[in-house]
């Protein structure tokens, strides 16, 4: 398994990268860590004429704090997010979930923008970003556009990213004080892609009722799935075991996971309910610790 021939371009700054994309976009692939693209090249599932390696474009690297969000540059590596004290403090759902991305040897190369752009429905970052209702900032030589995960993820490995655009940064909303969060996943082995994964953020009112519920499921559909009816069902309720069980199973029929040798459609659907119930319980426990501490 060897990559096909391509021309290798390595821009030194964002403007150069965007100029190259404008010129070669249709026949070019953006690469930084290469942890998704190189396997595709090795297996010759992708045969671009040009590879634009943005791995050294410093403007696309880094983690910064804004009022409502942690903003992470597209080529920031998983390992840098995993170890960030700022992310742990302001968006701990991301810290909890990113440890599930591959192995250390993958996270030392893999990037946040790469995981989002690859749009594998079983990958952790698209699910987490969707649960948080984050945003993706895309840039071309002409304009900068910010989109929601629902606008960005179109289908299995397919996004709204145009050939002349790249991901500049991703905005992960902060988790508010008094909120709880949880990430749950089942994979065949640690480091494998998820069979199913769930990310949850719950906000409680002072009286203990649910003020807001944000949920996303990964691996259960061709894009991260938001169970809107379950979210609405939870809001205003005082959570107990039966309510959480009902919420967790409310929309299982709306899920359409791919069945394969590793798990049937029915198993993944069942697992979605189990993981969602677990995640809701953990998120609410954490929110209670915050609210009543």
């Amino acid at each position: 398994m060897k990559p096909p021939k391509f021309s290798y371009l390595r821009p030194n700054n964002l403007q150069e990268a965007l100029d190259m994309l404008a010129e070669y976009g249709d026949d070019a692939k953006i690469m930084s860590g290469g942890q998704s693209l190189i396997p595709l090249l090795n297996m010759r599932l992708s045969t671009p004429g040009y590879i634009i390696d943005i791995g050294r474009v410093e403007e696309l690297k880094g983690i910064k704090e804004e009022e409502d969000a942690i903003v992470i540059g597209g080529i920031t590596r998983h390992v840098d997010v995993e170890k960030s004290a700022l992310v742990q403090e302001k968006c701990p759902l991301l810290t909890e979930g990113i440890r599930w991305v591959g192995h250390n040897q993958i996270r030392t190369r893999g990037t946040i923008g790469g995981s989002i752009a690859h749009a594998d429905p079983s990958a952790e970052l698209p699910c987490i970003l969707t649960a948080l209702r984050g945003e993706i900032v895309m840039v071309s030589s002409e304009e900068e556009i910010t989109v929601s995960p629902e606008e960005f993820f179109l289908s299995y490995l397919l996004t709204s990213l145009e050939p002349n655009q790249l991901i500049k940064e991703i905005r992960f909303p902060k988790i508010k004080k008094g909120s709880g969060y949880a990430f749950e996943e089942v994979a065949r082995r640690h480091g494998d892609f998820a069979l199913v994964e769930v990310a949850v953020v719950i906000e409680l009112d002072d009286d203990g009722t649910i003020a807001d519920a944000k949920i996303a499921l990964g691996g259960a559909n061709s894009v991260p799935f938001i169970p809107e009816a379950a979210e609405e069902f939870l809001i205003g309720k005082l959570p107990d075991d039966s309510i959480l069980k009902e919420a967790a199973t409310l929309q299982l029929d709306d899920l359409d996971p791919e069945g394969d040798i590793h798990g049937s459609k029915e198993y993944r659907r069942y697992l979605s309910g189990v993981l969602l119930e677990r995640a809701l319980n953990r998120a609410i426990d954490r929110a209670r610790e915050g609210v009543f501490a």
């Binding site: 021939k5 290798y8 290469g34 942890q35 040897q105 030392t108 190369r109």
Partner: protein, 158 residues
Amino acid sequence: MSNCNVKIKINGEVIEKEIESRWLLSDFLRDKLGLTGTHVGCEHGVCGACTILLNGEPVRSCLMLAVQADGLEVETVESLAEEDGTFHPIQQAFANNHALQCGFCTPGFLMSVKNFMETHPELPTDDEIREAISGNLCRCTGYSNIIKAVKDAYVLKC
């Protein structure tokens, strides 16, 4: 530009070469430099046999183009033993504890463990070791002796 000039520091020696941009780092090391200690198993990032250190951090050399290492520092398993053949403490610990049978996966384990020991100077728990080597597959040992060897390496290096 399907060919590129690169300058990579490999096991302490600076190598300057014109290479094809599509060459994987693993193939460059093995086929062009003769550093066949880096083993190539699955060639798509699953098995970990090709793990090397890039600027001190473990990476899969099959999931990286050689040209991407331009200007950076690479360490392979050949850098571990001393010139007279004396084993590195991690290699000695693997030998003492029968932590390899066929040995195909061993170079990847050794490089992963080297970084782990450098970043975790205190004696780790079994669970921490299991997590650290979770990106390396071994089909012979069942891992128990590898975990023993990692703990022993902490003793040997003191």
